[in-house]
Symmetry: C2
Subunit: 408 residues, 2 copies
């Protein structure tokens, strides 16, 4: 009898966003007359900017003409996009990244979920707590997490990010092989300052770890002294892989495009006394199991780097940042403890009156028709918090604050 | 020191198409004045049909308007596309498949490469030989292949497909857990007749195997008595997963869309005496590690099912089929042994004078500037053959035949 990968059966509960969606659907069915306002899942709401739309139409036209049609593209992504990324996101900031160290994909979620395959099965994983669930779930599927007891996986090293450490992770007591750092963080909204990131890079070099740096929200950083890329830190080229996305930067959540930066200097022990470049392993993985991001989508992403694309997408990001400030201000007026929202589209909000995350989630949903995301879904240290996002329409923000004022 | 998944280091040589591309590039550099004609990689050359282009433009417009913009879609794919697929590819043929048993993705290569993750690591894999390399490579990465000796993985069960068995695989001597069947086959072009497929379905039910049925070339079947879906066979809903693609059916190799059918009745042993539905495992996998196919691409795929889309894409498929017949006829006139090409866009051609696959590949490339794909790259039983594809332009077919006549 064919048998299952038993690690899939060890996965806990439903995926966070599926479970919240289920509860929202149940609530909607129970009270169909009430409009639900969501500050929950981190999805964008503004349409794609005009320069991206124009690039898509042009690329679609190319696909309809025999002389300009494109079939299979390079699995790593087209050079025109990889070169635009390197020029503007790295070389313009003085960072030494080459186009063949950039891999285009359909999403940071796919890359972050699949990347762990390159590591030995017995590798030890460290994650910030709370954090985006994909890092842990993909390592559970691969059998790296051990037993689940009292809300935690026994082989995962959790790096608590709480009020006490300003939501900035300390080094763990024992050495991990892979460290997932998410900065600006989803869900806490905290971005790693330069000195903290330097400590991590130095630690990784000393201890022989690889840092998997999820930087999907880099565009939302407002404080100029914060690093925008891990490669601003000396030595990061030896130990860090950086994951970026167009989802939040340019509203591509429904269009699907992201990229991963793999400097050639990041290597793993090959078990025979030598080293092997992660970049080459990832190329092999993607060549064998992926066929590249659609040509038309890569042209859309390229347009984000045009002068007009920069202006248009920056305006959308600024609108989201303004929305975040408005939400933070409103929640504070209601007496809630609010963190984040300055360098990230996420606000990390303490539940009142000792309510649990899910209790506060259910309260807001039932009594105010308002959707947030329960902090506990991101890890044990997320208990007692909920996440609000700033991607919504300003009118919804005002409506949400008005409803909250009635029940809090 | 962080260590590599050692199974990646066991992978053999370069990926077939990368290696052929490398040799072609070297040849082009050496003789830049000569135009190279490719009947090699199975990529389409005709532009997307007008109804698909129109659907793309409409969907792009939607993405540019606030009221019609779409962010994250369902990981499983939009209902409009899953319903169109079920209605036309299954229910119209009397086959019992439900929309929630269909999963949309960016490609059959991704799905076929990732699907093995759901199975126990010690599962035994059977593959046709020769065959598309992704099945084996993804299982090597997962550690299921054992040692590589004399051109074969010791734990993989190879099902030789040769002239002797009309390129139709027999059951193996020992029982596999997973059986990859590719029909119409890439590279041999052979499609499994109903009685052969029935034997496989019966075998899988008796032995508790899962059949992973790669049917990416189903649209090219011309013989009416051949099954178009494995679900035409009684009991297949209990044992078979079907992989389909728009790549060759509708020229989507650069647009990226495919689907996988997972009937709820296909289950795996859960190691605790129970059963778990593969469909639910795949939903969990995709929800955790994939964010869905772009909305605009799903609208393009939906357009393939419109009455006009059917007409336009069928015309392209028919042109390819005509091209296949022309190539087969021309090669036979030159004295070569030719198989396939009737129910598939692939022709499986015996090398002359006892040449090896790569020798014949190099001969055609060096002396005629002609690209094919070496059969040995698809498995040991592919030695002594090369694959020609019929996706090219008719003018290139004529040019290729003219050049071949000069050197053979």
């Amino acid at each position: 009898m064919a048998s299952v990968n038993r690690h899939y059966l060890e996965l806990q509960g439903s995926y966070l966003f599926s479970e919240t969606a289920r509860r929202v659907a149940a609530c909607r069915a129970a009270r169909p007359e009430r409009r639900i306002v969501s500050l929950g899942i981190g999805d964008v709401t503004r349409p794609l900017v005009p320069v991206v739309i124009a690039a898509l139409h042009r690329a679609v036209e190319e696909m309809g003409q025999e002389t300009t049609f494109r079939g299979y593209g390079p699995e790593q992504g087209y050079a025109f996009l990889r070169e635009a990324i390197v020029r503007q996101d790295y070389q313009a900031r003085g960072l030494d990244i080459a186009p063949d160290e950039v891999f285009i994909s359909d999403g940071a979620k796919s890359d972050l979920g699949n990347f762990q395959e390159l590591f030995a099965p017995e590798s030890v994983v460290a994650v910030m707590d709370p954090v985006y669930p994909v890092y842990v779930d993909s390592n559970v599927m691969a059998g790296r997490a051990g037993q689940f007891r009292d809300g935690r996986w026994q082989r995962i090293l959790y790096l608590p990010c709480t009020r006490d450490n300003a939501f900035l992770p300390d080094r763990p007591a024992t050495r991990p092989d892979m460290v997932y750092l998410c900065s600006p963080n989803n869900p806490t909204g905290a971005a790693l300052p330069r000195d903290v990131l330097r400590q991590w890079v130095d630690y990784a070099r000393r201890e022989g770890c690889v840092i998997l740096f999820d930087s999907a929200y880099e565009a939302f950083v407002t404080e100029p002294e914060l690093p925008r890329s891990i490669y601003e830190l000396e030595g990061a080229r030896e130990v860090a892989v950086e994951f970026r996305s167009f989802s939040k930067t340019a509203g591509f959540t429904g269009l699907r495009c992201a990229y991963t930066v793999l400097p050639r200097d990041v290597t793993l022990a090959d078990g025979r006394g030598g080293r092997v470049a992660l970049r080459d392993l990832w190329l092999r993985r993607q060549s064998s199991r992926y066929n590249g991001c659609p040509y038309i989508v890569q042209r859309a992403a390229e347009a984000v780097y045009s002068p007009q694309g920069r202006i248009e997408t920056a305006a959308d990001v600024a609108a989201c940042q303004a929305n975040a400030r408005r939400i933070a201000q409103g929640l504070r007026r209601l007496g809630l403890g609010v963190f984040g929202g300055v360098n990230a589209p996420y606000l990390w909000v303490q539940t009142p009156q000792g309510l649990s995350s899910w209790e506060f989630f259910d309260l807001l949903l039932d009594r105010a028709g308002l959707v947030c995301t329960p902090g506990a879904g991101f890890g044990l240290s997320g208990e007692g918090y909920v996440r609000f996002t700033a991607f919504g329409k300003p009118a919804d923000t005002e409506e949400a604050l008005r409803r909250l004022a009635l029940i809090l």
